[in-house]
Structures are given as C-alpha cells and as structure tokens.
Symmetry: C2
Subunit: 284 residues, 2 copies
Amino acid sequence: MTTSTASTAFAPGHVTAFFSIHRAESPATSGSRGAGLALSEGVTATVSPTDGGDQGKNEIHLNGTRVTIEAVEHVLSELRVTARVRLETPLTPGAGFGVSGAAALATALAANNRFDCGRTENELVRLAHAGDVEAGTGLGDVVAQARGGIPIRLEPGAPGYGSLDGIPDRCRVEYVTFGELSTPDVLSGETEALSAAGERALTALMGDPTVETLLAEGRRFTREIGVATPAVAEAIDAVADAGGEASMAMLGRSVFALGTGLTDAGYDPSVCRTHPAGATLGSE
Amino acid sequence: MTTSTASTAFAPGHVTAFFSIHRAESPATSGSRGAGLALSEGVTATVSPTDGGDQGKNEIHLNGTRVTIEAVEHVLSELRVTARVRLETPLTPGAGFGVSGAAALATALAANNRFDCGRTENELVRLAHAGDVEAGTGLGDVVAQARGGIPIRLEPGAPGYGSLDGIPDRCRVEYVTFGELSTPDVLSGETEALSAAGERALTALMGDPTVETLLAEGRRFTREIGVATPAVAEAIDAVADAGGEASMAMLGRSVFALGTGLTDAGYDPSVCRTHPAGATLGSE
C-alpha cells in the first residue's frame, strides 16, 4: 500500500465558552446551543484502505497509538467502509478541544474522498455530529468545527436541523491544559441549571456579539455551573489580573485566552489562532 | 488620518456554474439556487472614516479608481456609517466573478469592525446579499462567498432564509475573460427557461456531488440558456478536446476550468484555487 492511496482532511479544534443541552429523538437533531472558538490547531486524518487481513475492522491510530474512538467508528460504519485512519493532533484529548468531534469530521471528509462515497459536506457533517452525540463525547463541536471562525450555535443539531451564526472577528488564542475532565460524566448528570446558564449567556452574546463578551459570558457560565478546578479558576483570575480575557474550555480542564493573556499572566501557553475555514479536505 | 484607523476584510470571488432565479417579497428572501466555486482571488476592502469634508457621502475606490457600487452603498447606508472604502481585486468586474457581491461583503465585515457596529456574521451577510439583489448585480454570490469552498445554494436567500451545502473538495482553478456581460440585462429578461435548466442541473449535482459533475452540468446549462459568446464556447470546447473540464462563469464572458484545463488547451489563463474559508476580517 502506498501513501498515494490515502486521502487527508483537517478539522479545527474547538473550545466552547458556554452551552445549553438539547436532547431530541435522533442524534442528528440533538445538540447544543452556545458559542466558542474554532482553532487553527486541530486534527488531521489520513484515511486509506486496510490491508484486508482483519476484515471489517478499522485501524485507528491517534498520534501513533492504536485507539478506539466511537465517533470515528460511527462515521466509517455509516459510510460503509473499513479503513486505516491515522489521526495527528497537537491538542490534548479529553481537555475541551473537541478532539473526538474533529477526528470524526476529518475522518468523514477524508474517507468520503478516498472511497468515493459521494456525500455532500452537510451529509458528512451530519454523520460526524451524530457519531459525537451518540458516543456522548460532544454535542456541538462538530457543527462549529465544520463552520470555522468564532461560531455561535443558534439552534442545536446537524446541518438541516440546527443553525449557526458567528462573531465577525479573528484573534490569537493561547491555552493551557491541567488535565482531563470526562465529558460523558458531566453531560449525563443533572443539566437543567447548566442549560439555563448557557441560555442566559447566549442571549447576552447576541446582544453584543464580540469576542470580549464571549469570554466574559464564558467566565460567568463557568462560575455558575461550578466545574472549574482550582488550577483553572486560578489561571482565569491571573489573566484577568493582568488585564486580559480568559475562560474555561467546556468540558475540559483547560483555560483559553485572547491575545497574549496567559503569557502576560506568567503562564507558558500553547499558541494558535481562530481558524477561519472550518474543516476541509487536504492538510492545513 | 493614519492607516491604523482602517479595518480590512477579504471576500472570495465566486463563479456560478448554473442557477435558477427565485424572486420573493424582500431582497433578503430573494436569491438563487445553484452551485459554483469560491475563489482564492477576491476583493479586499479597507474601510476608514471619511475626512468629513463631504458629509454623508461615501468615497469608494476600486483598484484606485473612484467608483459607485450600489451594493456597497447599500451596506454602508444600512450600517448607518459614512466611509472611505478602498477595494482591491485582481478580478475583472462584470465578468462573472461576483465582484460586486464580494465588494459588498468585504465592506460589511470591515465597516462593522471599524465602526463597532456590533453585527453578527449572518447580519452582515444579509446586508450584503440584500444590497447585491437590490442593485440587480447578483442573486447568490454573497451567500456563497460568505461560505467559501464549493458552495451549493440549496435554498435561495440570506442567512436565516436560504440554505447551503457544499461539495467536499478543493481544486486548482484556471480562468480567462473575454469581456463583460450585463448581469441586470440578463436577470431582467425572460428567465423561466433559465430557471428550469438551473433546477435540472441542481438535481443532477445533488445526485453526484462532485466538481466534475458541477462543471458538466454547468456546460449543459450554458448550452441550454444560450448565452455563450463564440469565444466562450470555443474555449470550453478546446478544454474538452484537451481532456479537461471547463464551463462558463454566470453571468460573464469568462471560462473557468479545473486543474490545468485551459493551459492544456493552449490558453494563458489566470490561476487560483478554491477558497476554503469564505469571507473574513483581515487580508488574505
């Protein structure tokens, strides 16, 4: 097997500042409302056929390690292909960057191209969104990652059901990670108060659709739902003390900041930018 | 006035392969269905306040020449600002690249940023779309230019009314221009047969959403509506004879081709690529 038989796609990472949960009958119509930032760092998926030795079994590697990612398996199953998927990302999985959603979306785009599945972009986004929702690993990352920029999820669900808007801006983004937080655990808990806080934040953001308000509402949401660990809360406060804007990446033990916010506060953050394009075929 | 008081935005050019016309009560709900390519070459708008000498009058320059572009004036009027707008583009206006729509969209993004108008992306796209429709210079370019990639206009109209999909691909694009064709003249003529041909092409494309089918349906649409000049028809045929894929840019005397189609046919084309991001703040 040569590399010329592989197709590659990229999906940006995504940090959610705040969200509300909306469960519906199907995974495609379920999702979240909320807002966040699509990141120039994300997941690159390279998809090729398997050798055929283990018929019907996908081979998924994340940064060189064999893994099982339910959302990715879902996508391949729906496309009716068996594939070798190499996923590469500088982002920490389980830390609030939507790595599972990006993996599913990039795999969908690359697999559709490699195996001539003949799907449109909306259809591929729908498969990846449904996979992420079914796996319990995300509710809104995929549609945001497909759009790029600074996405606002106005209505929940995949293309054809949900709807999106965006904040017309671009910015440098810094982030630090303090460890994992299990998305399925939080999403399966009591979520009424969380959703109410998320709805209030969305209303406030639509009244003043700027990145500064996005971050401010993210901080308020973080306080109200009480999921910040001491390290996360300390970093957010330190950035504020240094005159910057930071918030927590939902749902992970990560803090993201605009511009040089974390650097100014004395942290040694990773640095990226908002990603204008959304997921695309090819590598970035 | 220093350049630091200016904001800049970019909107990709867009060639439509085929379309149908849908007139509704308002410009925002009017539009077209169809498909085309968003181009890496487009319009960069730099927006700053006027000196105030000619109160309430915008100063719009296109590649250094003072011009009036109705869609741009519409956007500034709706944003309630008076501005100096410098538009730069390598694309020929009036040749089927959606220059008026790109100018309106880039101006909307830059003016919103410069004057803190506080609009969301959807709101800005809506203003630019309505301006292009009211001016009679475009029916679907703006929503495609806001999306980027290889946009399919499933339903007509601005965000909140229309809906979009896309072909999941990226490609090199070549183009040649043989002169202008008046968009208002064609759009104000008898358009029932045109729309019927456009609907057939869209149905065919959704059955096989690939760039090759996009171009093939574009050629069929071009033949059926009979707007190709001899030079356009000759170029399309020459590309086909050389084994390539080309079609006419609606509505202009331009031919676009995939890959090296026009070069292989002996033309000396301009070269760009599909633009994945859609319109964004900042210059590309």
